[in-house]
Each structure stands twice: as C-alpha cells, then as structure tokens.
C-alpha cells in the first residue's frame, strides 16, 4: 500500500512551511533517509528525509508551495499503486503530475490556472475569506490564497475553496514552463528582459519585520567611537596563543562587553509588549545579526551575561554556521532582549541599524578608522572603532542611551580590566 510523507513541524510555533525544492521526482526510487525536498519556515530552511522506501508515485505540491504542517506532500509505494486516499483534502482528482498532463493537453485549462495565480498575487496582500471557507481550506489542507474569489466584495467563499479542492492546487511554475513551448510558436513572444522572483519565506519575514519596526517605533541613533588600542592588542595576544582562544574576534569582545554592561541599563535590555507594557529581562539574551544566503537572520545567545568570552565566541560561530546552513531551530531565532549587528568587516564607518521588534535597541558595530587626537599639545593617531546605537525613544531617552554607550566604550577601552571583573 502506498504511504505518504508529511510536511514536518519545524518548531513549536510553526504552522506551515514552504517547499524549497523537490530533489526527487515522480518515478524516482527512494530509501528511508533520502532527502526528498528542502523546505523553509519563516526563519530557517531544512531538508526533509523520506520516511518511506519505494517509488515516488506522486508529488502533491510544487516548489514554492506553502504547505500546512502534517499535510501529505507526496506518495511513495510500489509502482502503479493507488494513492488517491493520500491526496490532501481527500481529493477526487489527484493533482500533481496528472494535473500537469491536463495542462499540457488543454491550453485553456492552463490559462485558467494562470488566471487563478494572477488573482493570488493580491494587490493588498490581505486575504478576504469567509470563516466557513477558511475552516474548509484548513481542514482540506489547501491554501485558500490560490482560490478565485467570487463572493461579495472579493471575498473567498466556500464554493471557491471547493473549486480549488476539485481542481487541485495550481502547479503553476512547472505548468507554465511545460506549457510554454506549446504556446510559443503561435505567439513568439520575446523573452523578458527581467526576472520576477517571489520573496522567499525569510525575505518576507525580514520585509515585514523591518517595515513594522520603522512604522511602529520612534527610532533614533547615536554614534560613538572608542579607542580600540586595547582590544586590538588583546586580539593580537589571543591570536598568538592560538587554539580555541585564537578564534576570538574583536566582534566577540564587543558582544562580551555588551553582555556585561547592558544589565545596568534595563530599558535597553527589554521588549515592548503591546503599546503600554515593557518587559525587563533579568539576563542578556543577545541577538547576533548574521548574514546568510537567504537574508538576515538573528540567532540568540541566551544568558550571555553568564557566559565567558570564549563561550560567547564559540557560540556565535556555531549559531552563525547553523543559520547559514539553514539548519537552525526556529526556537533559537527569537527571544532576544538586545541585538548586535556587526558590519565592521565591511568598512562601514557609521550606520543606523533597525531595531528588531519587540526589542528596544540595537547596537551597530562599525569598522576601525585611524583618528588623530590632541593630548598635551601633541597630535597622535589612534584606532577608533565606531558604535551606532539605535533605540526606541518611546522607552529610552537620549541621555541614558548615550550614557550606556559611553560606559560600553569605557569598558572596551579597558577591556582586560572588564575581563577581570
């Protein structure tokens, strides 16, 4: 009997995942543990291993489809076995490859699907749907945003979801690609000079989060700099020592200094809940901005204030690695009380980082520039490292924010003293 592979649940709060790319096709033989497809959540991407062995009989979703967790995504069994009862929503007509064939045969059908997909790219991004249609879609495991709305005021109503269930989820990208040659000779349309790529799950989240951040807070940024002589010297020493400590970077030292300074400034180590409540943290849960191929991710070092410089350094490295590979648990991508974003390596002199809601502040770490200062009538050159603190003025005023950075600068300038504490 054919068996289904389901979309795994990739974290407590995750309701659905987007299929990244199918690595197996219908007809391929797979073993338990083979990677079937990649998928991503709002915050990370994963690989799905097959839980069954046999031939891939059908794929119920396509690359880029959003699939509710625990929904059947493909059927695996012996060649020619019936898998109709595995189709999500108990569909009469199994979509997947059959659908593709239909599309090939019927240009009209393809057009319909295309029309449906065009509706999908809704202008305001809001889904108008009746409670009944919504409940039906959830139960059937279909994504109602692919339904063609025929209700009053552009509302998706029950019949629209039923139609979607009947026709199956559109398999648009492949359908288009495969149907295109058939249509091409007639139209001979020129190839477009651009490429439309939909936001990935992470890009969507970043976009939403950043817009929300700037629209909902009163943000402003203070720029400071400190004499990096001390930390540079310490870095040299560590490098010379080699081994694990040899990997400790200037950025790690900034993280360490922040973790030891922040608890004196509780408004900056906080989250804003709703419009009128502030949550103070007893420990420093330090978010560290990491650049990944899919975009910015911010894993969290929990209880950084209790960790040594080396521990912090090692944890940052492993978190960043996990984030870049997409294997990081979504639960490590939230819960931060403060974030540090380090662009120092790229030569940034100063910037205005955007707060990661619901936090109240973010520290931008800039590059080192040589500056001149006067002392006792003598000019001297010293390495100045920039720090840019963006904070939510609803919660924090300019004076305490500046004082925090000043203290931080002082601690960094006498870093070994801080280590001794």
């Amino acid at each position: 009997m054919a068996k289904a592979v389901i979309m795994p649940k990739a974290g407590i709060t995750v309701e659905s995942c987007i299929i990244g790319k199918w690595l197996k096709n219908v007809g391929d033989t797979v073993n338990v543990g083979d990677i079937l497809f990649t998928y991503e959540t709002d915050k990370a991407s994963f690989e799905c291993e097959s839980t069954e062995a046999g031939e891939v009989l059908a794929l119920f979703f396509n690359d880029g489809d959003e699939v509710p967790c625990f929904t059947n995504v493909c059927a695996i069994g012996n060649k020619g076995e019936d898998y109709s009862d595995l189709v999500p929503g108990g569909a009469a007509a199994a979509p997947g490859e059959e659908k593709k064939e239909e599309v090939k045969e019927e240009a009209k059908e393809e057009k319909k699907a295309e029309a449906a997909i065009e509706k999908t790219v809704s202008t305001d991004g809001e889904l108008r749907i009746s409670p009944r249609a919504k409940a039906l879609a959830e139960n059937a495991g279909v994504d109602p945003k692919y339904a063609e709305a025929t209700g009053p005021k552009g509302r998706i109503i029950e019949r629209d979801v039923r139609k979607l269930m009947e026709n199956g989820m559109p398999v648009i990208e492949e359908a288009k690609a495969e149907a295109a040659p058939a249509a091409a000779p007639a139209k001979a349309a020129p190839a477009p000079e651009f490429e439309d790529v939909k936001f990935s799950g992470i890009r969507k989240v970043i976009a939403k989060s950043m817009m929300n951040s700037l629209q909902s807070m009163a943000q402003l940024t203070n720029h400071h700099s400190f004499d990096a002589t001390s930390i540079q010297a310490f870095r040299k020493e560590l490098k010379a020592a080699g081994g694990e400590v040899g990997g400790i970077t200037l950025g790690d030292m900034v993280l360490y200094a922040v973790s030891r300074t922040l608890l004196n400034w509780k408004d900056l180590n906080a989250n804003v809940i709703g419009d009128d409540t502030i949550r103070y943290f007893k420990h420093v849960n330090l978010g560290v901005a990491v650049d990944t191929p899919r975009g910015l991710m911010v894993p969290t070092i929990f209880n950084a204030d209790e960790k040594s410089l080396l521990e912090i350094s090692k944890e940052v490295k492993s978190l960043a690695e996990a984030a870049r590979s997409g294997a990081i648990s979504p639960d490590l991508l939230s819960g931060g009380s403060f974030t540090v974003s380090n662009l120092g390596a790229t030569g940034v002199e100063m910037f205005t980082p955007v707060i990661n809601p619901p936090q109240t502040a973010i520290l931008g770490v800039c590059g080192i520039t040589q500056r001149v200062r006067e002392a006792n009538g003598q000019l001297s050159v010293y390495p100045a490292m920039g720090l840019s603190l963006t904070y939510d003025h609803r919660v924090v005023d300019g004076s305490p924010a500046s004082k925090f950075v000043s203290e931080l600068c002082k601690n960094l300038e006498k870093f070994t003293l801080l280590l001794a504490k």
Binding site: S130, P131, R132, A133, K134, A135, T150, G151, P152, R155, I157, E158, R159
Partner: protein, 824 residues
C-alpha cells in the same frame, strides 16, 4: 352590539335630564361611647394594637433608611421604602371586617394594608387553621425560622410574628421572605390571608383587582375584592378603564345565567392622602374637587361612592360594613374615598418641598394613635397605662423581628454565586395543567352541536390534493379554524377558561376566529370587553393570579401600546416576582394587520420578545397555530400569541398529512423546517414565510439553488438546535419578517447564529425586514414589506453572487450608511 338590546331612536332622542344623588362626605360622627354597644372593648383595644404594629413597622424602616439603626439593631437596606406613616388607622379599619376569602390588592405604599389585612385574618382564623397555613407555606421554612426567635404566648402571637417576619425579610430581599425576596417592598403579599400583591406601578392594581373580581364572579367564589390605590392613580387611564370594566352594564343586562347576573364584587378604595408623590391632587393635578365625586361619572348608582374619614378607624369600619352589604346584593362595584394623610415623605429622599411643616403638624395633632387612644380612655374602655403596655409590647416584638430579619446568618440572601440559576428557574413555571377548574364547564350546548364545529368537520385539513391542486378556500381547514379548534376544546375541559376582548362575541372577533363560540358559551365565559386594552390585559392578569385561565385579545398588534404596562410589567413579571407562587396562564392574542395603514399593520413581536417573562409565538401555518395554541392552553405561563391577518384563510401547505383532527401540542421553542435544502437557509417569522417559499421556488427553478426554510413559530423560548444544524449545512443565512428591520427580533437571531456558528458561515447573516418607515397605504405594500425578490437580491448581493442575476433592491453599503444616518 347584541341584537337582544334594542337601541332605538325614540328612546335615545327623547328629552330628559340626568339625576344625581348626594354623595356623603364624612357622614360618620359616632363616639366611642356610642360604639361600645357595637364593639367589644377588647376589639376596640386590638384595633389600637394593630395601628401601633403598623406604625412601628414603618418607623423601623424610617430609622433603618435614615440612620441605619433601629432600637439598637444596626442594618442597612438599599431598596425602596414608600412608607405609610399616618395612614395606619384607615388600613386597620378597612381590614377589620374582611376575611381571608376577601382579596386585597395594593399599591407601592401598602405595608400597612398588607399587615392590617393579615392581622385581621389572624384574628378570624382558629389556631388549627393558622398552624396549617404556616406549616404549609413554603414547606414550613418561614415558620421554622420564626419558632427559633423564642417562645410565644399563643399561636396568634406566633402568627403575628410570622407575618411581620415574612414581610420584613421579603422587604430586606432575604431568601426567608414570603417570596424569597424577589418581590420586595412594592410586590409583597401573602395569599393564604387573602393578601394579594401590591404593585409598584401607580394604579397598576386597578385592572388586576377587577380581574380578580371577575374570577370570583365567574367561578362562584366566596368573598369580595378590595382594590387599594391612591388618589394619584386617578390620573391614570388604566384605572378609569378598570372602573368601567368592573361596572359594565352587561353584568346586569346580558349575564342572565343563574347566579351570574349582577355587579362585580369589588370595592375600589382610594386611600386619599392628598398627594400623588408631591403633586397635590385636589387643587393642583386633578379636577374632581372631592374624589368621591368620580363614582357619579361611572355608573347610575354612582358606585355608592362616599368620602370616609380614614383618621377614625371606626368610621372606616362603619363604611366597610355598609359597602359589603351592597356587594353581597350584587350591586357592585363600589367606591370609597378614604381620607388619610402621610406624615412621612413619599420616600425617604422626599424633602417635603411641596407642603408646609405646619400642615404636617396640624395633621399630626389629630394622629389616630393619639386621638383614638384618648377617645378610648375617655370612654372608659381601658386605662391609659394599657396603651403604654401595648406600645412597649409592639416595640419589643418589632425589635426582635428586625434583629432576626437583618441578621444575614438567620435570614440569608439567595446565594447567586452558589446557585446562579436562582432567578432563571423562576421565570417560567413550565407546568402542564389541562384544567384549573373543578366544576363542570358551563356551556349552552354540546360541542358537537356547535354549527362551526360541524362545518369544520367537513373541511379538508390540508391545502392541496394529491396532485398539488389547491382545495377551494371555503372547504379548507384554515388558520383561523386552527386557533378555534383547541380553544373550543378547552372551553369544554377547563371550567375557569374565559375569553374576552373587543367584539369577540357577536362579531366572532374582528377576524372571525371565535365565530360559533357564542352558540355554545354563556356571556360569563365569552364576552365583549370595552375598548380598554389596559383593562383587558390587566384583568386577565388578575384572573390568572386567582387561579383561572384567560384568553384575551387585542385585535391589532398595534394596540399593544395601549396595554404596555399590563403586558410588559404585570403579565410578564408576577411569576418570578412571586418566586413561583403565582401562575400566569394568560394567552394574549394579537393580530398583525395588513392593508390598514400605519397604525394597523405593525409586527411588534420584538417588543414582546425583549421583555423577560413572556413566552412569545407567531405561528404562520394552521398546523403550527393549532399545536401552539394547544400548548399555550395546557400551560401555566403567559403567552403573547401573534397571528397574521394575511393568512387567516390559508390551509396547511407544509405539514405531512395536513392538520391532525385530534389534539396535539407543539413545544414552545421548537422551529418548523418547512422545506429542506443544502444551499441557503431562509429563516422566517410570520406571514413572510409564504414570500420566502416563493423566493425558494424561484431560486430552485431559475438558479438551481436549494433553500432550506425554517419558520420560527416561537420566539421565546427558542431552541437553536435545528437552526445551527441547518447553518452548519448551508453556511448561508437570510432572515425574513414583516417587522421593520431596525430592532427586529431577527437581528437577535442573526447575532446569535453568528455567535454560535461563526466558523460555519460563508457570509454574514442578512436580515430582510420592512423599511424603517410608517407602513404606507396597501397600494405600496411591495415597496415596504419584504418581497420574494428582496430575499433573492439579498442572497445575491450579500451572501453568494448568483451568476446571471441582477439585484434591484438590496441597498449598497453607501446607501445603507445613509439610511442609518438619516434614521430611516
């Protein structure tokens, strides 16, 4: 309009004058010395004792309201206290001759009346009777409490304590009160002593008391009824309606059966303290100069009206004695203008801004508690020290009772937290009592001999034949037959059943529902009432309170306003306010009109459904009408029974097999699925059902949609089970009735469906009602009342667009907003 009474021009147009007799004013002038021949000394002394008990009761409440302490007992009481300090002698005098079989109704200021009547009853009942009454009341719980207050010298003293404690703890809202504290100060009573409810609505007791007298008269019950109302109530229409209702000529001219001829056994006693709250009646707000005059405006015998000095208890006893003789002779109703004076304010917040202190002082100088005592001493009835003893005893008794009534341990409140359904359980009695009577029902002929019954026997009991062809209307058992059938059955089952209203007898009711009943029923069971909606409904309430069943009619729903208080405050509230002691088997038939313009075409179901305590139904088919009427007639709860003039002649179109000939009941709250379908649920109320059917036919024929139609034949109570099941199936709901849309009952149903079935809904519930206008002339009906096209339009525009359909009537949102803003 009975044919038996000739109304000829010669007699009516002949010249003559109307004669009036003199109306006595304070005729009684005897001294105590003279009266010692007629009263035992101990009775004269007991009269004084009773006055002191009443005075102490009111003084206690004054102290508690103003100082939160009475004679060392600290307590507070937030509720009303309309006290009768000063009026006690008049109450004791009135009650002196009354027996427990004589019923008394009161006003908002009735503590003294209640206690006086109870004390009088205690005096007249034997120890055995008293113990039986106390033991039997609420399972003896009140008696058990009173026994715990310490020993008493006699059963009578125990009974005095019982009545004072039961009344006071009722006022204090305690569970140990005579009706669990649910009535309170203005709704207290004790039926075993003939103490019927007092009433917080000024004049509210007048129609109710008239109904109680009707009960006594129709059912040959011993005793008479006293309606105690104040002089302020003479400004209230329902009081005048009640005076006339109780005095109708027909009692002498048409009620010719044995024992039924003669006036109503009722005394309208007006305790005339000169003020209606602060408005001075004589001299300011009324026109009668002396209140006793009004009797001359009601009947040729002037209601035997007279003014009596209520500051002299012996003068009141003298008058009562004479009035009782008149009532016994069947010459009621009678009217007394019993002068009295209220020393205290209308309520404790009264600043007495409307009268001089000197006026109060002048009356206090002739306070019976001083003058009557002096007269007794002067006449040698007893030494003055005897009265000091009485006062001390009264105060001691009251203190003991107050201490226990105020103590929340001894006299607990109902526990709303532990028993949150305490009031809920009292709202309806929900009993089945096929007959309240024990006598053989009085009828003029056998039911089978009633021509209407014979005619109905030959009718087809459904609307269509096997081929779907409609039977001739004349040969079809219709909606009006369906109301008639259970009603005539009940007349032969329950001897207490009476039916009345405007033109119900010879005319057969304006819509011929009662046609045929006059052939088999005497006037005393079916009679034309005056055009007095308040008296019609109010008297039915009194009739039911006493233990009878009444079906009354208001002809048009638009006349509900004329009986507003009686429906909304009296009929609806007495079961719960009495903690279930009173039953209210009243069916109020009201007909929703058509073709008769703005004041005769309104569906006011929502008004009635809004009021807690009423069961409300609106059958729309003969099967529903018969089953619901039967259910209402077997029940014990007040029912407002809506009918529609659009459908009196329709036959049964929906129920399988038509309307059964045998008796059956439809449970209140059930709903009638008249057609099943899967695509949309149409919920209907009233005659709109038939337009919904047309809409459903069109939906099916033209657009392939199957509508499920559910008719709400009852509104209160309402079982949502079938509705919810239907909505879960279809996900789409449109609700239709002829009520103006704003505030329509269907909005309530729509809101509840949204609440109960939100996730099942594919669109908002849409209410299609009449426009928020006056009802225009019938020629424009289609622009005002919901039409089949409105229903389809609403489905198309708001719920599920129908391919190829073009809506014409459903307003756009902009238009809706404009109408809301304009209030139209």
């Amino acid at each position: 309009m009975p044919k038996s009474l000739y109304y000829g021009p010669n007699e009516v147009r002949a010249q003559s004058v109307i004669h009036f007799q003199d109306i006595p004013v304070n005729a009684y002038q005897k001294t105590v010395a003279e009266e010692r021949a007629n009263f035992k000394d101990e009775d004269l002394i007991r009269i004084y004792r009773d006055i002191t008990i009443l005075r102490e009761f009111e003084s206690m409440l004054t102290d508690i309201k103003t100082k939160s302490v009475y004679n060392g007992v600290e307590t507070t009481y937030p509720g009303p206290a309309h006290l009768s300090v000063g009026q006690e002698a008049a109450c004791v005098g009135q009650a002196y001759l009354m027996t427990p079989n004589d019923y008394q109704f009161g006003s908002h200021r009735s503590h003294s009346e209640i206690l006086a009547k109870a004390l009088s009853s205690i005096e007249k009942l034997s120890d055995e009777e008293l113990l039986k009454i106390m033991e039997g009341f609420l399972g003896g719980s009140c008696l058990r409490a009173v026994e715990k207050m310490g020993p008493t010298s006699s059963v009578k003293e125990l009974a005095v304590r019982f009545i004072l404690y039961g009344t006071l703890s009722e006022i204090f809202a305690r569970k140990t009160g005579f009706h669990m504290g649910m009535g309170g100060s203005m709704h207290a009573f004790f039926l075993p002593f003939g103490v019927y409810p007092n009433n917080a609505i000024v004049g509210g007791s007048a129609p109710i008391a008239a109904g109680a007298a009707l009960y006594k008269k129709v059912n040959d019950k011993p005793g008479f009824v006293v309606c105690n109302i104040g002089d302020g109530s003479l400004g209230c229409g329902p009081v005048w309606e009640a005076l006339n209702f109780a005095a109708m000529d027909q009692f002498k001219t048409l009620w010719t059966e044995d024992g039924k001829q003669g006036g109503m056994p009722i005394l309208f006693n007006i305790f005339n303290n000169g003020y209606g709250m602060g408005g001075q009646t004589r001299g300011e707000t009324m026109a009668y100069d002396m209140l006793a005059r009004i009797g001359a405006g009601i009947t040729p015998n002037q209601m035997h009206s007279e003014r009596v000095d209520g500051f002299n208890p012996l003068a009141v006893i003298d008058a009562m004695k004479r009035k009782l003789e008149i009532l016994k002779k069947g010459e009621g109703p009678v009217l007394m203008d019993t002068l009295t004076y209220r020393f205290c304010g209308h309520s404790v917040s009264d600043q007495n801004a409307y009268r001089e202190r000197s006026e109060i002082n002048d009356w206090m100088e002739v306070d019976p508690i001083i003058t009557y005592r002096k007269n007794l001493v002067d006449a040698g009835v007893a030494a003055d020290s005897k009265f000091e003893e009485i006062l001390a005893e009264t105060r001691e008794r009251m203190t003991n009772i107050c201490r226990h009534a105020a103590d929340p341990e001894f006299s607990p409140y109902c526990d709303f937290k532990a028993a949150p359904q305490v009031v809920e359980r009292l709202m309806f009695s929900n009993e089945k009592v096929p007959s309240f009577g024990t006598d053989e029902p009085r009828v003029l002929a056998k039911k089978e001999d009633c021509p209407r019954v014979q005619q109905i026997a030959g009718k087809m009991r459904k609307a269509f034949d096997e081929n779907g062809k409609a039977y001739s209307k004349m040969k079809t058992f219709n909606y009006r037959d369906a109301i008639f059938e259970p009603l005539i059955d009940k007349f032969y089952e329950d001897s207490t059943l009476v039916a009345y209203g405007e033109d119900v007898r010879d005319w057969g009711g304006a819509f011929a529902v009662y046609r045929g009943l006059p052939d088999v029923l005497p006037h005393s069971r079916l009679f034309n009432s005056p055009i007095s909606e308040a008296a019609i409904v109010g008297s039915a309430v009194g009739y039911a309170m006493c233990g009878g069943r009444a079906v009354v009619e208001l002809m048009y729903a638009d006349f509900i306003g004329r009986a507003g208080d009686e429906i909304f405050n009296q009929m609806s509230k007495w079961q719960a306010m009495s903690a279930g002691i009173l039953k209210m088997p009243v069916i109020l038939r009201v007909s929703v009109g058509s073709k008769y313009g703005a004041q005769h075409s309104q569906d006011w179901t929502a008004l009635c459904a809004h009021i807690p305590g009423l069961k409300v139904c609106f059958p729309a088919t003969p099967w529903e009408a018969k089953g619901l009427m039967q259910s209402a007639l077997n029940g014990t709860d007040p029912v407002v029974f809506f009918e529609s003039q659009r459908i009196y002649d329709v036959g049964e179109q929906f129920h399988e097999g038509g309307v059964p000939a045998e008796s059956y009941e439809i449970e209140f709250g059930d709903t009638n699925v008249v057609r099943t379908g899967k695509d949309v649920t149409i919920i209907t109320l009233g005659a709109a059902l038939y337009r919904a059917v047309k809409a459903a036919d069109e939906l099916k024929a033209k657009y392939g949609m199957e509508a499920e139609i559910i008719n709400l034949h009852s509104m209160v109570p309402l079982n949502y089970e079938k509705i919810v099941a239907s909505v879960k199936k279809t996900g789409r709901v449109v609700l239709v009735s002829d009520a103006c849309q704003r505030g329509s009952f269907l909005n309530d149903v729509a809101a509840n469906i949204t609440d109960l079935c939100f996730d099942d809904l594919d669109a908002p519930c849409v209410v299609v009602g009449a426009r928020n206008w006056i009802t225009p002339p019938f020629e424009f009906d289609e622009f005002f009342f919901p039409q089949p096209s409105w229903i389809i339009d609403a489905i198309h525009s708001k719920i599920v667009p129908i391919p190829g359909y073009v809506a014409e009537t459903t307003p756009s949102e902009v238009e809706q907003m404009r109408r809301f803003k304009a209030g139209v």
